[in-house]
């Protein structure tokens, strides 16, 4: 069934689906064009009944990655949408209006990784304190503690 889903995504969204990789029978990673992501995510969530599990932001060598983990419970499979953004100015359209469950995780990725989520309804800090500098993002690989700490490395 999941293969049909992937095939359906390809015919429906065409060029927005860049790459499909089946890591195992139950884990599929789909690289998506950042511009097409909100529509693909909404399609998975509303039309196919996928459950939004969580999103993972990553500061990698090749760029800033976001993985949106969707669980397709009836097919026993996780469909993960991957977008790769520019590491210097990562920015993507928010999907919080379409999938309310993403509201918190987008706030979290915004403060911990510095990814801008355009048109997010409430972009306050979620985990970090309110006085944390807006240009200091702890989960980035080049993070320096703004309070002058040693990043825990003595």
């Amino acid at each position: 069934m999941a293969d049909e889903v992937v095939q359906g995504l390809k015919t429906r969204f065409g060029a927005a689906i860049i790459e499909v990789y089946d890591k195992s029978p139950s884990r599929t990673y789909i690289t998506v064009d950042p511009k097409g992501l909100p529509d693909v995510a909404e399609y998975l969530y509303k039309e196919l009944g996928c459950r939004f599990s969580i999103a993972t932001g990553m500061h990698m060598v090749g760029g800033m990655e976001i993985l949106y983990h969707f669980a397709l419970d009836k097919a026993h499979r996780f469909l993960n949408l991957r977008v790769i953004l520019d590491p210097d100015k990562p920015s993507i359209e928010s999907i919080a209006a379409r999938i309310p469950a993403t509201e918190w995780i987008e706030r979290e990725m915004q403060e911990l990784l510095g990814i801008e989520f355009r048109n997010h309804p409430d972009m306050r800090h979620l985990l970090l304190s309110d006085d944390w500098p807006t240009d200091n993002h702890p989960l980035r690989k080049d993070w320096k503690d703004w309070r002058g700490g040693d990043n825990g490395q003595k």
């Binding site: 890591k23 459950r51 599990s53 993972t56 996780f78 469950a101 979620l126 304190s129 989960l139």
Partner: protein, 405 residues
Amino acid sequence: MAKSRTIIPIGPYHPLQEEPEFFKLHVEGEKVVELEIEIGYNHRGIEKLAEGLSYDQIPFLVERICGICSSSHPFAGVMATEDVAGVEIPERAKYIRTFIGELERIHSHLLWLGLAGHFLGYNTVWMWAWKYREPVLDLFELLTGNRNHYGMMKPGGVRRDFADEDIAAVVRVLDSLVKPTVMFKNVALSDPVLQARTKNVGKLSKQDCIDLGALGPTARASGVDIDVRRDHPYAAYGKVKFNVIATANGDIFDKLVVRVLEILESIEICKQCCRKLLEVKDGIDANLTDIPPGEGIGVHEAPRGEVIHYTRSDGSNRPVRYKIRAPSYMNVPTNKRAVVGYTVSDAAITLAAIDPCYCCTERTVVVEASSGKPVMTGKDLLRLSREKTEKLMGKYTSRMDKLWI
């Protein structure tokens, strides 16, 4: 006089649980009209810490995320690591993992049941539930060496084997839990006061659950039939028989019923694992050494819902990125919809119904919005909740006599 809105701050610290949460109840009179949630008071940066640890050390770190369902995070974490490497672990290790996961569900649900009773003013329920929880912790000590933080999970298997001689005692303890659990079920189904306090209170609709991504008993009580044990079979869950408990109403009563019935299911799963452990003897460790570059996802149905861990490896002995999502991350926002429209005295149990330990009542202060003067303490909130129960008890006295004597 115009309706004045008062803010009741609850929090910001949970002394018992790992998630200090700050709830701001906006009330008009006694009615809750809005809820604001603030988290992050105790952000420990575990994801960042995990990037500096080896795959063998990470289970110990993530085990410390939660003190109640302490094996849930390592369970999902080691599966994420195994997913990267693509290894199969021995059958026996799978059954041991399943057993630990289910025994933990029993103790966690009993703990919640006790706390729920405590908040409603049923201290008997509290003490009895915790009395029956005690032998479960003793079992953990017998089998793993610890009452909490069992340290059982490792990438590729489990750390300790079970001795065949212990199995009989384990089954005996499990059997002894059935009677009290059934008793709790009957009390819940028949007690008019408990019904009055929990039925149609804190209702969460099915659509709300889907919108906010609610998980575990919170979602299942609202009719969202999800359970990763069945939907994404892992460990030995594909080989044992169990039912996924789902009800339709979405109120606190249903959440209570779901949890109590899940205890009975978990006892059955544990016993099936015990029988299998006497037969299956293929070792407990796959001796996983190298983690290749790649990525992996591990999921486990913790007592509160799905735990998901994601690992990205570059081929070294440490992950490049380690993502953790606990079920409460999705369940806590559901409170925004569950408490609105009910009274302050219902808020204590509603906020507790998703199963974060709700001990911050002790720290609650009601502040008059205009003067900023405290008018109510945490004890008062607990008192309010209990008074409502007592009032109802008076109303039902005649029926109560029939039930209890």
